[in-house]
Every structure is written in C-alpha cells, then in structure tokens.
Amino acid sequence: MAKEMLKGNIAIAEAAIRAGVEAYFGYPITPQTELLEHMSKRMVELDRVFLQAESEVAAINMVYGAACTGVRVMTSSSSPGFSLMQEGLSYIAGSELPCVVVDVMRGGPGLGNILPSQGDYFQITRSAGHGDYHPIVLAPASVQEAVDLTALAFDLADQYRHIVIIAADGLIGQMMEPAELPPMQPVATDRPNWALTGAKDRKPNSIVSFYLKAEEEEAFNLKIQARLHEIQKTEQRFVEYYTDDCELLVIGYGSSGRIALSAVQTARENGMKVGLFRPLTLWPFPEKRLSELADEVGACLVVEMSAGQMIEDVRLATGGQIPVGFYGRMGGVIPMPDEILQAIQTHCRQLSQNCEGIPTPLERVNS
C-alpha cells in the first residue's frame, strides 16, 4: 500500500483494526480522542464492537471482560484516564489476559494540560496497578512506527497472554506524517481453550485474579515472574544511530528520541562523536545492548519530556560505569533540537575535561 499522510492517533486505530482487533472500549480524552473517534466510525462499518464507556474505569473493565473471551481487544486514553485504569490493569495482569492499551501521554500531574509529555514512564513501566508485574511497553517515535508497533503489540499480547501498552504522547498522537498501513488481517475465528465461551462439551472455565491461599498466590506470582523473565530475555528492542564510534551516547524514546536524532545529526555534522540509542521497548528495557555500549562510550545523555524517569533504567543498565547526564523538559514543553544540541555540547566539553561535572537530573531540572 502507498504512503498516506496519517495522524498518529488515527494510524494507531487503523493499524489495530488491520491487526484484527475485535472490540474497542474507550472514553474521550485529549490528545487521544481521534483514536476513539476513528474507532467509532470504522468498527461499526466493519461490524465489530465499539463502545464508548461511561469512564476509563468502566472501559478497562469492559476490556477485561472482552479479553476473557479470547478476542483481540483494546482501549486508549491519556494520562489522567490511564491513572484510572490502574486497578483494572492489575486485575487483567492477575488473570493472565492479553490486551492492548494506548496511553497518549499529556502534561501532568493532575489535570495538567493536553500537551505532549512523557511523565507516565514510571506508572506505565513500573506499576500499572498494585502487585508484582510489568506490562510490555512499546514506544513509537513516528507515525510509521506507531503503525508497526501496534501490530506487534497484539502479537506480543497474545503470545505472552500479557498486557501490552503503547506509550505515545501528544506529539505522536496529533501529528500527521507519511506512513504505510499494513494490509487487513482476517479476524481470528477460533478461541483459546481458556476463554469463557460457555461450558459446552467441556469442563467450566473460570478466570480470576485471586488465590486466597498464600502458597497458591505465590505460585501464581512465580509463574508470572517466569514469564516476565522470558520476555526480558527475548523482547528487548531498540534502534541505534552512529553508535560505532561515539563518545557521547544520547538516549531518548518516542518523541524525545526522535527530536534528539536531529540534534545528534547536527552534532555529527559538526564533527562531534555522538550517537543515539532509542529504546523501542520501555519494558523490557533494552539493558543488554545498553550495557555493552556503556563499555564503549564515555558518557551518556538522557533526553526525556519529564523530570527524569527512564534515566533510572539507564543508570541501572549502565551500573555506574559511566556518568549519566540529563536534559528534560516538562509540562508540555517540547525539547527543541537546538536545546538538545547545546546539552550535547556541554556534555562533550565536560567529557574532554572530567565527567564529574555533569549535573544530576534534579540539579539539571532545577537549574
């Protein structure tokens, strides 16, 4: 299919439809709303399930129900709405069900504003609700990547019977960019054997997220942990640029990774040995490759649209080997290539002198 100018929100919706999503439940919230609106049109056309829920709490629990039947199901929201889904997400994880959730992040905390942000990183990667688990998290940096990762999201969700979250932001959601959509996949007709389809010619199935006996709950948790371990081993994804001979490694995901690339390119043109590492999976965080790179580079600079959240994963992955600098903007302010370039220059300078001079994230944001 040819490329078309597609708005990120709509691209994700259409990509989900082509990946065979059978049910969508959501609630309007800027800057995500076009996704829901596209679903309201297309899902009805295709005679699939679209329902505007009364709230995000209801939406995620409708997703929970639909997921129990073994179909591909999805919801989408933005930061405050995502916060309301925390309990439901934990239940879905506790029931080993596949589903895809899109968070088009906006400025926070609180009502904040409707502008692009990456302030939900912790909430998405660490704790989508209470209890021990991590959802799989995919972070697109372009409309095309949003399309591609949406298809991947459904496959991973089914493969691991796990939640997959697409961590986008207002920039990816609102911009139009040329992208190519995949062909329409047929909707799967068979249902997994664990699905709630009525106990016909088989024992009753039940799907619950509780084990009142401690030993059973622990056994279940160990099972989940084993699965997460497996995912960590096999699903770390990332893109790297100019990393073969770089002294400073810039690290950013999604929009900030994309913008950082411009800065890195300019830096290269000015002869600075700078590379870019852009995680595609935020969980599992691509720590293997990053720790390898840490042996090769002198320092890294994390760029986020937040006060510094992914930076913790970077520090864990690089394990104190190299100094980790930070450049972050918050509350809907988008870090511009020239600002990032400046940060790169400062760090390169400090590299040539002593690394210790690099300010800690908090100092950085406060300065």
Binding site: N61, Y64, G65, G88, T197, G198, V208
Partner: protein, 259 residues
C-alpha cells in the same frame, strides 16, 4: 443409607440442580446467598442455559460463586461486574451473561457501572443480593443499610443526617429507558422464595429474547453481621427490610410482559 428411608412407591421430587456445583459453599449458616444460588441454578437448568452461561461474580461474600456453578465464570473488580459483563456480552451476544452482585458492590462502588449498563439497555441479567450490609469485610454500613442500623462503621446506628437514607436501586434504575425488567423480591420465606424463582426465570428470558437489561433484587440475610440467629434474620428481613425496600415490579416493559 438413603434407600432405607425410601419405599418403593416414592419418587424423587426435589434434588440439587445440575448447574449447582457439589462443593460446599463458604457462606455462614443460614445465609440466604445459598438460596439465591440455588434459585439461579434451577432457572439456568430449567431454561437449558448451562452450556452458554457466563457468570460474573463480584467481590463480596459471593466472590466464590463462580466455583459454585457448573458454568463458565469470572470474578470482576469490586463493583465493576456490569462493565465486565458488557465486555463479555458485546463480543458474544449469543451467550447468557449474568452478574451476581452484593449491595456494597452494586449500590456503592459499582453505582456508575450498573446505572450505565441499565441505561444502555445492555442485554445482561443482574442478580442483586441486597443484605443491607458489607458482609465479606465484616459488617460495615452499606448505602442500603437501614436508618439506625448498627454496623461496624456506624457503631451508633446509621445516622441519616450524616449518611443519608437507604438507596433503593430498583426504584432508581427504573427511571432508565434502557432497563426492561426490574423487580424486587425477598428470600425470607418459602412463598417469597417461589416468587423470586419466577422473577429470575423471567429475567433470564428477557436476555434470551434480546430485550435488554434485567435485574432481580433479592432481599437477603446476613445473620453473622446482623448478629442474629438465621431464623431471626429472616424475620428481620420481613419486619425491617421490606418496609424500606418494598417488594414488587418496578419496571416491566410491554414486550417483556408476554415472556
């Protein structure tokens, strides 16, 4: 040992319904959750729905109910059974989806979900077991607790000035056009148990015929948290609950009457 008590001419006139699992329940002695279960199981059997039924259990004393029925089942988050049921029903309109909910679950934390399921005319059936208290967590006040009722979170009795009056869900939901069949019954004696059974049968038929949202509210006992003997508890339903929650048909749409 059975046989000893039965002579040749005898015929079996009452036994456990097939849809009811054989395991013991976790309910306290005399708790009428058990009666509600049996009635629902009988109705499912009589309509031949066991193999197409999906039961959505709540968080509450009936959290285990999914185990007590020989049907597919799941447990919703506290109060969200109607939303979960909606998700199940929308992708499988040919299945029978039933939520079983307590009053804390449905009338307190789950208010928005039940109102909107009814407003949408969601084609599901809700069995609403109203015992005027939070049973599972040890007897706290529910929105359905009666004025003056002593609970572990209203030790001096429910104070209507501070906490208002019992929420009457059947009346409330009856204001919604999407609701097709909303009735209140009681489990305090055999005559009323018979009526409750009929209502459950009708509610399931409403769903079978795609007529929209149906709910049967059942006044039920909680001897443990009411601090009463099982027999006294049944009297308490009759003398205290029924006046506050009048029995009757609150909404029966035209096209449902025929069923």
């Amino acid at each position: 040992m059975m046989t000893t008590t039965i002579n040749e001419a005898s015929t079996l006139v009452f036994e456990r319904p097939d849809s009811l699992a054989t395991c013991n329940t976790n309910y306290c002695p005399g708790c009428t959750h058990g009666v509600a279960h049996r009635l629902l199981a009988e109705a499912i059997d009589e309509l031949g729905l066991r193999e197409q039924t999906i039961l959505v259990s709540p968080v509450g004393c009936s959290v285990f109910s999914y185990q007590y029925f020989q049907t597919d089942g799941c447990v919703a988050a506290h109060g969200r059974a109607p939303a979960m049921a909606t998700g199940i029903k929308r992708v499988q309109p040919d299945k029978m989806v039933i939520t079983y909910q307590g009053d804390g679950d449905l009338a307190s934390i789950g208010m928005a979900e039940i109102v909107h399921a009814a407003a949408r005319g969601e084609n599901i059936t809700t069995i609403f077991v109203n015992n005027a208290i939070y049973g599972m967590t040890g007897g706290q006040m529910a929105p359905t607790s009666l004025p003056g009722q002593k609970t572990t979170s209203s030790p001096l009795g429910r104070n209507t000035i501070m906490t208002g009056y019992p929420v009457r869900m059947s009346e409330l939901l009856s204001t919604l056009d999407g609701a097709s069949y909303i009735v209140r019954r009681s489990l305090h004696d055999v005559a009323n148990i018979r009526k409750a059974k009929k209502a459950i049968l009708t509610a399931l038929k409403v769903q079978m015929n795609g007529k929209g949202f149906s709910m049967v509210e059942l006044l039920s006992s909680c001897p443990t948290n009411w601090g009463l003997e099982p027999v006294e508890a049944l009297h308490w339903i009759e003398t205290n609950m029924i006046p506050a929650f009048p029995l009757g048909d609150y909404k029966v749409n035209e096209d449902v009457r025929s069923l």
